[in-house]
Symmetry: C2
Subunit: 412 residues, 2 copies
């Protein structure tokens, strides 16, 4: 993979020009893109800007508005060739930092689960996951050092796990969603994909305007949470989490198994009602006027959301608020949680983008989540470990992520 920190360090040292850094990406894209199909649109003459991310080529998920490229929302039948007026706020932040939008990356239809044609860079017969399929694949394939995705259930952390990329789904609204096609307004979160946690920390610090450096944590106290309310992981996923726990203990972390409070299980249960209800409202125009062109999975979500009704939605929101209030209990005496990033390796076939069941509750809590690559399953495909920190402790999530990353590397 292309490391953002490595690239920007070399540019600063004069060992690499920003133009040559962009060419690293365009060269890699020429080599890998034909077999992967991570992009829907490519910049014609990509040029570096100036700023802390000069020379960084970025893939932008195609539900995020760009003023200079079409934004087709994963549904070309409705949004084919659609050219927004303005950049999304997060795209403007990228350009302000000197980064180069190198292309638009594939999204499932309206960021739900109708698959893209993108292939997993570690196994072309496998899904890259979704909904941020192209962004995860582009980073995992070493085509770009940074990519934007969004997560409403598990659309950043899961594809990162499948594609062997590092990723962060930051605290709710740490990064702006203005100009991002809405799936569910109380859940939608802009996230980042990069080669490793240091790369994520640099990009998140620049884009959020907040320090993301380490605090000097030596022996993190980690709660291992299995999320039994979400069902069991696959054998590969379970083995990866146990292997990580063992390597983390060996590296000096204190790992204790913890149980989520029942309010969190309740929150997990109602997450789909909130997502579907809000998706139905957010996609009202599409549902009412061009329904026949809406792909089947998202259409089923919208129909389900229509059936939820306001009373059940309002009750689900109260349940979600209770889960958020109780989240502090889960972090009592520990620095961060480790859990499955996905049930296991990327499923075979492109029909399914995999299951977000181990991601949902953390999105609902608004807690920062990091997927740390470094382990593989029995088919040789990547499996990530998910780190979760309390709301607004994004720097801590990344610091613990870094610790996990180093522990996994030492174990290989």
């Amino acid at each position: 993979m292309l490391s953002l920190v490595h690239i920007t360090d070399r540019i600063r040292n004069g060992a690499l020009t920003a133009e040559a850094a962009i060419a690293l990406s365009t060269d890699a894209m020429r080599a890998r893109e034909p077999g992967i199909g991570a992009f829907t649109h490519l910049a014609r003459t990509p040029k570096p800007g100036s700023g802390p991310l000069a020379g960084v080529a970025v893939a932008v998920k195609d539900i995020i508005d760009t003023a200079d490229m079409p934004t087709e929302m994963g549904v070309p039948a409705i949004y084919g060739g659609w050219q927004p007026k303005a950049d999304a706020a997060i795209v403007a932040a990228l350009r302000r930092a000197g980064a180069t939008v190198i292309g638009k990356s594939t999204s499932t239809a309206f960021a739900s689960s109708d698959p893209t044609t993108t292939r997993n860079p570690h196994g072309p017969a496998h899904t890259p996951g979704g909904s941020s399929a192209g962004s995860a694949a582009a980073v995992g394939a070493g085509m770009v050092p940074l990519a934007l995705g969004t997560q409403t259930a598990g659309s950043v952390i899961r594809p990162a796990s499948f594609c062997g990329a590092a990723a962060i789904k930051p605290s709710f609204r740490l990064l702006p969603t203005v100009g991002v096609k809405c799936l569910a307004w109380t859940l939608d979160t802009v996230g980042l994909f990069a080669a490793g946690t240091a790369d994520l920390a640099l990009a998140l610090s620049v884009l959020s305007g907040r320090p993301m450096g380490p605090s000097g944590l030596r022996t993190p106290r980690l709660g291992l949470v299995r999320q039994r309310f979400a069902g069991a992981a696959e054998p590969d996923g379970e083995a990866a989490l146990e292997r990580a726990a063992s390597l983390l203990s060996r590296a000096g972390a204190i790992v204790t198994e913890v149980e989520a409070p029942s309010s969190m299980a309740d929150g997990w249960t109602v997450h789909p009602s909130i997502q579907d209800y809000e998706a139905f409202v957010a996609n009202s125009w599409e549902y009412d006027t061009v329904r026949d062109r809406i792909p089947p999975n998202i259409l089923a979500n919208l129909e389900a959301g229509r059936a939820v009704g306001t009373a059940a939605y309002d009750e689900a929101r109260r349940i979600a608020n209770r889960a958020r209030r109780d989240a502090g209990l889960l972090f009592d005496g520990i620095d961060a949680l480790i859990t499955y990033a996905a049930p296991g390796e990327a499923p075979r076939g492109l029909e399914s983008t995999g299951d977000p069941r181990f991601n949902r509750i953390w999105t609902m809590l608004g807690a920062p989540c990091v997927s740390v690559p470094g382990l593989v399953g029995t088919s040789g495909l990547p499996i990530g470990i998910q780190v979760v920190a309390p709301f607004s402790r994004d720097a801590l999530a990344l610091e613990v992520g870094r610790f996990v990353e180093e522990a996994l590397v030492q174990g290989v």
Copy 2:
């Protein structure tokens, strides 16, 4: 004014066709629009739909996307002729209910304070207020029975007060903001203007899918709050509030003066920092690429927001959260608050849209606010009374608003 309830009742009774109801608006618009200028764009061949709002002509603030009319965001120099792809979710909800979007109503630039050319229907030398200038004026002039606005500081309640319309700024996110140009994402709230509180209740019930009927409250316990942290009202505004308190007591309400907790004063103080910071992020593309075409007041807001910085913004958000937590204290033992809707009558001249200082804190709290017309100032211009209920108690806010409305009518 045109009463939505009266119109829909007459349509249901067969006394009026939906087409004739729409013609009531187009006729009134022909008569009043030339002297007021509430609209930026008119529907060519307005036709009624079917549903509970069939025959209801609606003015839609021009920062709210419409698939069949341009949406110029109050800044034609940047968004002139801009045609969005989709309807905003709230516009789709209107059409789903059978309402007719009769035209786009003027907005100040990006919903901030650069004035429109719209005139107050009760005095053409006076401002209609802002930012929802055209919507307030269109309802106040009797051109439409319903209009959409948005409030981030005081952009619904203040112009309603100035134009003699009833209005509700509902609880935060009761109505969806998807497809509405963002000014500040933690504050922006879609609101409604209509002739009276019963009209608002019908429209809000249909558009939100929640019951908005009365609970049968006979003797509301009202807290009169002067918001001393916001400075004094003008003599006309003070006289109106005192007159309302006296009429409400006479009508059987228990009116007690209450003081806002200090955390609320703190929240009020930091509201502009939150609004400006988020506006700077939300308008990043405009600021970075077409800055020379941004009107001066909103540009000053963006510059101020740029200067706020993330640390001060994060602290302001914590202060806002404390104010929200303490809001319960203010409602202890009372049903709702009454306070100024605006400092006084609409200022003379079109240069200023007036001051939102008595609206800010309630927008920050996310509490439902109703402006009830019925009083006038020394220049004969309308002055509204603002009713505030606890978060999510929109039906209560409207029920108390109805009580206030009847008390004011009895006093005239």
